[in-house]
Symmetry: C2
Subunit: 152 residues, 2 copies
DNA sequence: GCTAAGTAGTTGCGTGCGCAACTATATGGA
DNA sequence: TCCATATAGTTGCGCACGCAACTACTTAGC
C-alpha cells in the first residue's frame, strides 16, 4: 500500500493538540478532584452509579462504561466500598453477578462534589470554547466513537 | 459560591464525548502501534527526537514534551536505549545534562513505522471529520492548552 | 574561594492498571 | 442427565508511572 497523504497544517494542529493537550487537561481535572479528596476514577464510578436506575449497576456493565478491565474495577470497588460510598450486592437470580450499589453516604458525597467538579470542567474547558467549537467537539467525538464501535 | 450553571446538552455531549472517547481512541492507536512492535510512548519519544535539530534533545525538555516525569523518562529511555534506537550523550559544557540522541537505526525504524501510524491516525480520527471539525478541534485544544499554561 | 541554593538525572517505593489463570455459576447440546 | 462451553468476578503477576529522596554538578551571594 502506498504511503498515505501526510497531515495538513490544520490536521496536524488538531491531532497534536489532541495528543498533547487532552492528557494535560485530564491531569488538571484529576488534580482538581484530588483537592476534594477524591480520585478521578472514583468520581467517575460514583457518577455513573448516581445516574443509573436505582443507583446500581452490574459490575461488568460498570467496567465497560468506565473503560476498566474487570480486575481494574474489582480493585476500584475495593476503595469505594471501604469508604462506604458503595456496597456490593449479589444478584438473587444469577449468583455470578454482583451489583455495585451507591450508598446514601456515597450519593450525598457526590452531590457535594459535583458542583465543584462542574466548575472545574467549565473553567478548564467548556467556558473557554464558543458554540461552534462545542458542537464540533461533540460531533467529532461522536463520529470517532461510532467508528471505534464498528471496528470493536 | 453558588453552584455554577449545569451543562447544556451540547456542552454535555462535548464533555462526555471527550472523557469517554479520547481514552478509547488513544487505546486503539496504541494497539495499532503494538502491531508494529512498538509502544505508544516509545513512538512519541522517537517522533519528538526525529523532529528535533540534530535528532537530539535534552532529557528534561524531552520529558516536558512527552508529558512524563523525569523518572518516567529515565525508564522509557532504558527501553529505547536497549533497543539501540537512542543513545544517551553527556553534554560537554554542563555535565549534569544528558541528551537523548536518535540513532540511525532508530531513525530508519521510525521512518518505516510513521506511514503505518499515520494511516491509523487518519482512519481512526482525521478522515472521519470534516474541515470545520478539524479546525474547531485545533482551536479548541489550543485555547485549552493556553489556559492550562497560564494556571501552570 | 566558599558555601547555599538550584538544577539534571537516577533510584526506591507505592499505586493503578491489564493480562492470564482461577473459582463459581449458568446454559446448551448429546 | 451430564458434560462442554460460556460468563461474572477475583487474585497473581508484571509494567509504567509519579513522588520523594538521593547524587552530581552548576551558579549566585558573600
Amino acid at each position: 500500500m502506498a504511503s498515505p497523504k501526510w497531515l495538513s497544517d490544520a490536521e496536524m494542529k488538531a491531532w497534536r493538540g489532541f495528543v498533547t493537550t487532552s492528557p494535560d487537561l485530564m491531569n488538571a481535572i484529576e488534580r482538581d478532584l484530588g483537592a476534594f479528596g477524591l480520585d478521578a476514577g472514583d468520581y467517575q464510578l460514583l457518577a455513573m452509579l448516581s445516574e443509573a436506575p436505582d443507583h446500581k449497576l452490574k459490575m461488568c456493565d460498570l467496567a465497560d462504561t468506565l473503560r476498566l478491565s474487570r480486575s481494574g474495577l474489582t480493585r476500584r470497588m475495593d476503595g469505594v466500598v471501604k469508604a462506604k460510598y458503595v456496597v456490593r450486592i449479589q444478584d438473587k437470580d444469577d449468583r455470578r453477578v454482583s451489583f455495585a450499589h451507591l450508598t446514601p453516604k456515597g450519593y450525598q458525597f457526590l452531590k457535594k462534589i459535583a458542583p465543584l467538579h462542574l466548575k472545574d470542567v467549565r473553567s478548564r474547558m467548556i467556558d473557554l470554547l464558543n458554540d461552534s467549537e462545542i458542537k464540533a467537539l461533540g460531533s467529532a467525538f461522536a463520529k470517532i466513537n461510532a467508528y471505534l464501535r464498528t471496528t470493536e
